[in-house]
């Protein structure tokens, strides 16, 4: 184990370095997995089409060539089966990475991933842990229709015992996935299919990003925009647009929603007196409603308005492209929410 940069809580040090090489998010994910597999023989990847086809989304391209079929394993189309198998492997000391082609398909594996993995350590009285990573595409935006467009964080974040990571950039995806693989608890790692081709700076040297540490993507004084995953990028775009109207937004990327870095949000809201939460899951019982509740409790005397929220609309995901774009949190809707929250509507 060589020296590895573990990022500190200092927000200034948590952003991707400027300059240097830029790679796609899918390559950042592969680098994270490959590096960890070289480092630790217990780590292996399984899922549909991850080996011979090099991944449905080419995330695992070339990995079977390096690590062989014993560690890069093609599975039948049976999420419940291979998720359960991997949990058993984790209980007995291996460190599986389970790729769901889409998190929407994880629903058929709900019992193993929600009922077994997160509770194993607790129910076995500490005899069995479950160091496993489930990863795959989450969220809508690709015209995949209602059943394949889930943002599962709304459902899954309700379960104690899981860690949930939702990266918004290639740099974060790599640093957070490496941390996930080394973590001794089950980690749900939610990627965005719409972002797999997004390029961003990722340094050659190794680094890890700890869980539960948000990052200030943009500093501002009028309104705190708190988000995670793909919508963070919409928040940044909205912030630029709002700046032209004289509304100076601070954008905070939570990075992980379990654990949730409420402190960073509270610090910001105490300055801005205003908060808008942007969450691409449905509003009812969502990470966004949880964050809003926590902000209300911690910042009650600091708020100039109630915490506004931008979610996906409370309907099954539409197929039609223009409806799907309006259904998701987007720049226009974020701007509108900020104007309301700052009384500039």
């Amino acid at each position: 184990m060589n020296h590895v940069t573990v990022e500190s809580a200092d927000p200034a040090r948590m952003a991707a370095p400027e300059g240097g090489r830029e790679i796609e998010l899918r390559d950042a994910l592969r680098e994270a997995m490959s590096e960890e597999m070289r480092r630790d023989a217990r780590v292996f990847l399984l899922g549909e089409e991850v080996a011979q086809y090099h991944g449905a989304y080419k995330v695992s391209r070339g990995m079977v060539d390096e690590f062989g079929e014993r560690r890069i394993i093609d599975t039948p189309i049976s999420e419940s089966g291979f998720a359960g198998m991997a949990i058993g492997a984790a209980m007995l000391g291996l460190r599986p990475i389970v790729e769901f082609m889409s998190w929407s398909f994880s629903l058929v594996a709900a019992d193993p991933i929600l009922n077994n993995a997160p509770k194993m350590l607790y129910m076995s009285g500490g005899q069995f842990g479950c160091p496993i990573v489930f990863r795959g595409n989450d969220g809508a935006g690709g015209q995949l229709g209602s059943t394949h467009s889930w943002s599962v964080e709304g459902l899954y974040s309700n379960v104690p015992g899981v860690k949930i990571v939702i990266p918004s950039s290639p740099y974060d995806a790599k640093g957070l996935l490496k941390t996930a693989i080394r973590d001794d608890d089950p980690v749900f790692f939610l990627e965005s299919e719409r972002m797999l081709s997004v390029k961003g700076p990722v340094p050659e040297e190794e680094y890890l990003i700890p869980f539960g540490q948000a990052i200030v993507r943009r500093a501002g004084r009028d309104c705190t925009l708190a988000s995670w995953g793909r919508p963070v990028n919409f928040c940044l775009e909205a912030a630029e647009q709002l700046a032209k109207e004289g509304i100076d937004c601070e954008v905070i990327d939570l990075r992980t929603i379990r654990p949730l870095d409420i402190d960073s949000v509270v610090r910001s809201v105490r300055r801005t007196n205003c908060c808008v939460v942007v969450d691409q899951s449905w509003s009812f019982g969502s990470p966004g409603s949880e964050l809003a509740a926590q902000v209300h409790a911690a910042c009650f005397d600091d708020l100039d308005n109630f915490v506004h929220r931008v979610h996906s609309a409370d309907v099954p995901t539409p197929y039609a492209s223009h409806l799907e774009q309006e259904y998701l949190p987007n720049v226009r809707r974020i701007c509108e929410a900020v104007r309301h929250a700052t009384y500039r509507a």
Binding site: S289, R333, H340
Partner: protein
């Protein structure tokens, strides 16, 4: 799916809210009896507003009795649902002055909850009785509960307001009619929901939490502001604007600042940052804010920390301002030879050491002032407008400074019948009262009915100062330290003990020559201190 949603939206959300089932009956707050003789009390200041959450032990109001202003606590958790007696109004003991809705009623619906509370008072009570009889919650009882809280408005919220804007953010009317009506998702509907605009300012005051906090810190009277937020909600920018306006108004006030006189009178303790921002006469409310014109504005350009006034500080400010403004003060000073008294005190203290007695110079001053009253009855008197009241008992008030760490302040402890008490009694009583004042505070009895007051800064090394009369007294003695000095004794220079004291007097009661004679009597007593032993 639609059927499911429809069912959800019809089901009263409060049926799921356990608070709706065990809502307690409102609790009355009545005017407390704070002293034996108290018949009525004035609400000087409310520290809470309707809609504020309170915890047991919270100070909710300052109550002025016939003798002092005291803090009133509540003994229940809950939300102030109604305030029935405005500031400045006096009501008799036992009168209901406010009401607490039990815990869980109107949670966090600051300000907005009042109307709903008042309107729902009956139904809330019926809800409680329903649960107490063990019956199921009737639809009527449950729907009447906090559904209306977030907006506190009329029940008929327009459909366009209630529906989630997320569902069709920019859809035209045509789009809406062609699309199936989206199920109103509970929880999503407040994302952009706006409270209906209040028709007039008669409704409850709506203030955003940070605006409320800023107003408190800056000493801005919310009731004088007009909110620019939805439904007239006072928001951060309204406070900022008010602070700016007030800052601009500074300098137009031309009344002398009360602060310096207050400081001089309490004398002993000058607290560093001036708590000037709030009105000195709370009972007068808004008039005082505008009238005094001497409050330091938030935008004055001076850097300052702000401290809210304790009720003691308010009382000090009010009474002493009243004293300087209504009493024609003047001062007369005299220096006393203290050699004999210092020597006597030394020998007494040596002899009484085993008895735990340690007489202070102040004990002698109290005794002397009290004894002098028999020859100078008008020093033990009060101005009565068309007459002068000469008191038949001599009660000497002793000013006690409170520890700065505990917020400072000043009390006057009363040594009753001081002319009939020995030095030893006076000493013991003064010590006990000072100690109690600093730790637990004094009762009404221990603070009231003084007829003459002594303020002594001698222990701080002060040699000379003047004090403000403590109404309804006619005189106060400001006593300096006994110090060793070069003095002329029998035509020769010597080292001797001297002490200077200054009387502040009400010229309506006491003239200058009377003051001089009183001081001469004191001089005789100090210089022949054995007279104080008999």
């Amino acid at each position: 799916m639609c059927a499911e949603s429809a069912k959800l939206s019809v089901m009263p959300p409060t049926a799921l809210d356990p608070r709706a089932l065990d809502r307690p009956m409102p609790i009355d707050i009545t005017m407390p009896r704070l002293s034996d003789t108290m018949e009525a009390g004035t609400v000087v200041r409310w520290h809470v507003k309707e809609g504020d959450a309170v915890l047991s032990g919270a100070v909710v109001a300052d109550i002025e009795t016939d003798k002092a202003t005291m803090e009133m606590q509540v003994f229940d958790d809950g939300t102030i649902s109604r305030i029935l007696v405005p500031e400045g109004q006096s009501v008799s003991v036992g009168t209901k002055i406010a009401e607490i809705a039990g815990e869980g009623d109107a949670p966090g619906a600051t300000g907005a909850a009042n109307a709903a509370n008042a309107a729902n008072a009956a139904s809330a009570a019926s809800g409680a009785s329903t649960s107490s009889t063990g019956g199921g919650t009737t639809p009527a009882a449950s729907t009447s509960a906090p559904k209306s809280m977030p907006t506190s408005g009329p029940k008929s919220v327009p459909a366009s307001e209630a529906r989630p804007p997320d569902a069709a953010p920019s859809a035209s009317a045509a789009d809406r009619s062609s699309a199936p009506p989206p199920p109103p998702p509970p929880g999503a509907d407040f994302t952009f929901a706006r409270a209906p605009t209040a028709g007039s300012g008669d409704g409850p005051m709506r203030v955003s939490p940070v605006a409320r906090r800023m107003a408190e810190e800056m000493g801005i009277d919310l009731s004088r502001l007009r909110g620019s937020g939805p439904a007239g909600r006072i928001i951060k920018r309204d406070i900022e604007a008010a602070a700016e306006t007030r800052g601009a108004a500074i300098g137009s006030g031309n009344q002398p600042a009360g602060r310096s006189t207050v400081g001089a009178s309490s004398g002993s303790l000058d607290r560093s940052p001036s708590p000037l921002a709030t009105p000195v006469v709370p009972a007068a409310g808004a008039a005082a804010v505008g009238g005094t014109g001497l409050a330091l504005g938030a935008r004055s350009g001076l850097q300052s920390a702000e401290y809210p006034l304790s009720s003691m500080r308010q009382t000090i400010a009010r009474r002493l301002l009243e004293s300087t403004q209504s009493i024609p003060h003047y001062q007369v000073s005299m220096t006393f030879e203290m050699d004999a008294l210092v020597a006597l005190r030394g020998s007494l203290n040596t002899d009484l050491q085993t008895a735990g007695v340690k007489l202070s110079v102040n004990d002698f001053v109290v005794r002397a002032c009290a004894l002098a009253m028999s020859r100078h009855p008008f020093f033990n008197a009060s101005w009565g407008g068309d007459r002068i009241h000469v008191h038949q008992t001599v009660n000497v008030g002793v000013a006690v400074a409170l520890d700065e760490e505990k917020g400072g302040g000043l009390l006057v402890a009363t040594i009753r019948d001081a002319d009939r008490k020995s030095l030893r009694q006076i000493s013991a009583e003064t010590k006990a009262l000072s100690e109690k004042a600093r730790t637990k505070g004094l009762s009404m009895e221990e603070m009231s009915d003084s007829t003459f007051t002594i303020s002594n800064l001698g222990m701080f090394g002060v040699e000379h100062f003047t004090a403000i009369i403590n109404p309804p007294n006619s005189a106060i003695l400001a006593c300096g330290a006994a110090v060793q000095k070069p003095v002329v004794r029998a035509g020769a220079l010597a080292v001797g003990w001297e002490m200077m004291a200054t009387l502040s007097l009400d010229h309506r009661v006491i003239d200058g020559a009377m003051a001089a004679r009183y001081l001469s009597t004191l001089k005789h007593l100090f210089e022949h201190p054995t007279l104080l032993l008999v």
